[in-house]
Amino acid sequence: MRRALLAALLSVFAAFAAAQVLEFRDPAEEARFRALAAELRCVMCQNQSLADSNAPIAHDLRLEVLRLMRDGKSDAQIKQYLVARYTDFVLYRPQVTPMTWLLWFGPALGILIGAGVIVGIVRRKARQAPAAPPPTDSQEW
C-alpha cells in the first residue's frame, strides 16, 4: 500500500515536473510575463509571488496567465480574470478604490502635512535668526 501511494505521489510529481518549464515565443513576451507574474500572488503559499512559487497551483496559474496573454488579453483583463476567481488577494499591487485610498494616498498626504509642519517650524525659528550668517569658525561642524 505504501509503495502504491509513493508511486502515485511520484507519478503526480512527474506529471507536474514534465510541464515545469515555460516556453516563450520572444523576449518581449517573456519580459511581459515575468513582470505580470511578479505582481500576482501565489494563492496557496505564505507570501510568494506567482513567479517565484513552486506550488502546483502557482504552476497552473502561470500557464493560465500565459494562455490569456496569448489570447490577446491585456494585463488589466488578466488581473480582473484572476480577481474574479481568487479575490483581490491575488494582486500584490492593490487596486485603487475608495477602500485603498488611505493606502495609496495616505503617505503623500502625510508627507505634505509634515512639510507644512516644517514650514511652520522654520518660519518661527527664522523670525529669531540674526541677519547675517555667522562667521564660519565659530561654528562647530
Binding site: F16, N47, S49, Y92, L102, L103, I111, A129, P133, E140
Partner: protein, 640 residues
C-alpha cells in the same frame, strides 16, 4: 535536572530585573546614593543568570537532550554540531532567550561604559532597561518556556528547519537582535531624560554612541539577512517587502532619522522633542516587530509559530512600554525650543526634511504591512499589499532624499546663502546627468532605471567628494571621526543605490529544460549542462548538477547546484550555486527532473552588480561604527 536549573536561572533573572527596575529609580528620585549605586551590580548579576540559562539550553542541544521539548522540536542527532549552536535560536522560545541574552549584554555594557555619567542618570537608564528585561523574561516564563519538558522524551528530534542549516543562520539573528535590542539604550536615555526633566545636549551626547552602534549592527543584520535569502532561497531575490523584513526595516529607518536628529540636538540644542520622540519610536518599532512576527497576525514564511496568547501578552507589554513612554513624553517633554534659531536655507532645515522623509517611509511601510489586517478587521475582505506598492512608494520617498544628501554637509548651520552649496554642487550634478545619459544610451539592455542608477550613484559620490575637497581647501585637513563616518555612510548609500537599480534593470534570467551536454548562452557567458548525480551529505541526500560556465572559450566557473532531501523531515531544499563577482553574479539553480533522458529544469541568472547592494550596506554600517570613535564623545559638552 539541568533544564530545571535553567528555568530557575531565568526566574532569578526576572527577580533581579524587578529590583533593577525599582531600586535605582527610587534611589534617583530620593537621592539615595546607596540605591542608586545598586544599579550596576544588579545589571551584572542579571547578566550572569541569563547567561547561565542560555548556556543550559545550548548544552541541552549539544548533548541531544530530547526530553526538553524545544530541543526535540528543533534538532536531531544527525544535525552537524556546527548547527547545534545556532539551532538554539531556530524557533520562538530560543530566539526569545537570545533576545533576552542580548538585552542583558547591552545592559551590562551600559553599566560598564558609563563611568563618566552622573550616577543618577545611569541609575535611571539601567532601571528603564531593567523593566524592558522584566517584560521579556515574564513573556518567556509565562508563555514561552524554552525548558519545557517532553515526557516521555523523544528518541529522535524533529530537526532544525533545513533552510536554517546554513552559515547565515550563525550570524544573522545575533547581529539583527543586537541592533533591534540596542535601540533600547537610546530609548532608556530618552525615558531617563524625561523623568529627570533635563533634556539637553549632554544627554544626547551620551546616547549618540549607543545609538550609532545599535543602528550599525541592525544594518549588518538586515544586510546579512538579505544576502542569506539571496543565496539560500534559490530564486535570486534579495528583498521581498515581506512583513517580517519590514518589521526590521522600520526601526532601521527611524533609527537613521534618530542618528541625524541627535546630531542636531547635540550641536545646536534644537529638536529636543523630535529627538526624544524618535528615540521612543525606534525602540517601539523594534518591539512592534517582535510582536508582528510572533503573534500570528501576519502571514510570512519568516514568522514564528503563532499563538494568540503570546500575541496578547506582547501587545500588553507593548502597551505598557510604548504607551507609558509616550504618556511620559506628553507630560514632560520640553515645552519650548531652546535651540539656536535658523532660517530656511540652513542645515537644520535639511535635517528636518531628512527626518520627515525617513519617518514618512517608515510610516508608509507600516501602513502597507498592516493594511491587509485593517481591511480584514473592517470586513472588507482579504487584500494583499506587496512589492509593487512598497517598491514604488519607497522609491518616490527616497528620491528627494538622495537629491538632498550632498547638500547636507555643505550647508552651514543656522544660515547659509543658498547660492553657495548650489554653486559648489552644480558641476557634479551636471557630471552625474552626463554619466546617466551615457549609461542610458550606451549600456546594453539599459533602461531609465539604469540611467537612474548612474545618476544617483555619481551624484552621491560627487557630492560627498565635494565636501571632502571643501574641507581640504579650507585648510582644515583634519577629518573628525564623525565626518569620516558620515562620508563612508553616504558613499555606502551611493554604492547601494547603484547595486539595486543596476540589478533591477539589467538582470537576466533563463528558465530552461536542459539535456546533458546542452549549452545556453546569456550575456556572453556559455552555460553548459553536464548532468546530475546523486551525492550523500551528513544529513541529506542530494541531486547535484554540474554546469560549466565559459566566456569566449575561457573557463569561468563550475557550478554545482543541489536539490537536497533531508533525512529527518523529507523536506526538499534547493541549494543554488553562485559565482560571485564585483561586477556580476552568475547564479544557477536546479529545478525538477524532466525525464528519463537525464534532462532537468534549470534556472540561470546573470545579475550585474548585485554584490554592491550588500557592499553599500557594509559601508553604511562601518560609517556608523566609525562615528562612535569621535573625540567629542569623550569630552563634556561646553554650553554654546
Amino acid at each position: 535536572m539541568l533544564p530545571e536549573l535553567g528555568l530557575v536561572a531565568l526566574i532569578l533573572a526576572l527577580l533581579l530585573g524587578v529590583l533593577l527596575g525599582t531600586l535605582p529609580l527610587v534611589g534617583a528620585q530620593r537621592n539615595h546614593a546607596g540605591l542608586v549605586a545598586s544599579a550596576r551590580p544588579l545589571a551584572y548579576s542579571q547578566l550572569v543568570f541569563v547567561a547561565i540559562a542560555y548556556a543550559v539550553l545550548t548544552h541541552a542541544f549539544v548533548v541531544h537532550d530530547f526530553s526538553v521539548k524545544y530541543v526535540a522540536t528543533n534538532s536531531n542527532t544527525l544535525l552537524p554540531t556546527l548547527y547545534q549552536l545556532p539551532a538554539v535560536w531556530g524557533a520562538h522560545e530560543g530566539s526569545l532567550l537570545l533576545w533576552v541574552m542580548i538585552l542583558a549584554l547591552w545592559i551590562a555594557a551600559v553599566a560598564a561604559f558609563s563611568r563618566s555619567l552622573p550616577a543618577t542618570v545611569v541609575a535611571r537608564v539601567l532601571a528603564t532597561m531593567g523593566w524592558v528585561s522584566v517584560g521579556f523574561l515574564a513573556f518567556l516564563l509565562f508563555t514561552s518556556n524554552p525548558f519545557a519538558r517532553l515526557l516521555p522524551a523523544a528518541v529522535e528530534g524533529r530537526d532544525l528547519n533545513p533552510l536554517l542549516q546554513d552559515p547565515g543562520m550563525i550570524f544573522h539573528p545575533p547581529l539583527l537582535y543586537t541592533g533591534y535590542v540596542g535601540f533600547a539604550v537610546a530609548f532608556a536615555f530618552a525615558v531617563a531624560a524625561l523623568i529627570d526633566g533635563k533634556v539637553d545636549a549632554q544627554w544626547v551626547r551620551w546616547s549618540r554612541p549607543w545609538t550609532n552602534v545599535a543602528w550599525a549592527f541592525l544594518t549588518l543584520g538586515i544586510a546579512l539577512g538579505s544576502f542569506w535569502a539571496y543565496y539560500e532561497l534559490g530564486w535570486g531575490g534579495w528583498w521581498f517587502w515581506d512583513p517580517v523584513e519590514n518589521a526590521s526595516f522600520m526601526p532601521w529607518l527611524v533609527g537613521l532619522a534618530l542618528l541625524h536628529s541627535q546630531a542636531v540636538t547635540e550641536k545646536r540644542g534644537s529638536f529636543r522633542g523630535w529627538t526624544l520622540l524618535l528615540a521612543i519610536a525606534a525602540f517601539s518599532l523594534s518591539l512592534l516587530g517582535t510582536f508582528l512576527v510572533r503573534s500570528g497576525v501576519l502571514t510570512s514564511v519568516h514568522a514564528f509559530a503563532s499563538d494568540p496568547a503570546r500575541g496578547l501578552f506582547i501587545l500588553g507589554f507593548l502597551a505598557v512600554i510604548v504607551g507609558g513612554s509616550l504618556l511620559l513624553f506628553a507630560l514632560r517633554a520640553p515645552t519650548e525650543d531652546k535651540g539656536q534659531p535658523f532660517v530656511a536655507a540652513s542645515r537644520e532645515t535639511l535635517m528636518l526634511a531628512n527626518n520627515l522623509l525617513l519617518s514618512g517611509a517608515a510610516m508608509m511601510i507600516l501602513l502597507g504591512t498592516l493594511y491587509p489586517l485593517l481591511a480584514e478587521a473592517l470586513g472588507l475582505g482579504k487584500i494583499s499589499v506587496g512589492p509593487p506598492y512598497f517598491g514604488l512608494l519607497f522609491t518616490v520617498l527616497m528620491a528627494p532624499l538622495v537629491l538632498l544628501v550632498p547638500f547636507g554637509p555643505l550647508t552651514r548651520w543656522q544660515r547659509e546663502q543658498p547660492a553657495q552649496p548650489l554653486r559648489m554642487l552644480a558641476p557634479w550634478a551636471g557630471l552625474a546627468l552626463v554619466v546617466a545619459a551615457i549609461a542610458f544610451f550606451r549600456w546594453p539592455q539599459g533602461t531609465a532605471k539604469t540611467a537612474a542608477a548612474w545618476l544617483g550613484c555619481a551624484w552621491l559620490i560627487g557630492g560627498t567628494l565635494r565636501f571632502v575637497w571643501q574641507r581640504l581647501k579650507q585648510g582644515k585637513g583634519r577629518f573628525t571621526a564623525e565626518m569620516t563616518g558620515m562620508i563612508l555612510a553616504h558613499l555606502g548609500v551611493a554604492v547601494f543605490v547603484f547595486g539595486v537599480l543596476m540589478t533591477e534593470s539589467t538582470s537576466q534570467e533563463m528558465d530552461v529544460a536542459a539535456k546533458p551536454g546542452q549549452s545556453f548562452a546569456m550575456r556572453g557567458y556559455d552555460f553548459r549542462f553536464e548532468g546530475v548525480e546523486r551525492v550523500q551529505g551528513p544529513n541529506y541526500l542530494a541531486d547535484r548538477g554540474t554546469i560549466r560556465i565559459t566566456r569566449g572559450g575561457a573557463p569561468v566557473a563550475t557550478m554545482l547546484p543541489e536539490k537536497r532531501e533531508y533525512a529527518s523531515g523529507g523536506s526538499v531544499m534547493t541549494e543554488a550555486d553562485i559565482d560571485g563577482g564585483f561586477a556580476r553574479d552568475l547564479y544557477v539553480a536546479l529545478g525538477d527532473p524532466l525525464g528519463p533522458d537525464g534532462s532537468w529544469a534549470l534556472r540561470l541568472y546573470v545579475k550585474p552588480f548585485i554584490r554592491w547592494i550588500w557592499l553599500g550596506a557594509l559601508l553604511m554600517a562601518i560609517g556608523g561604527f566609525v562615528v562612535v570613535l569621535d573625540q567629542r564623545f569623550r569630552r563634556p559638552v561646553v554650553a554654546p
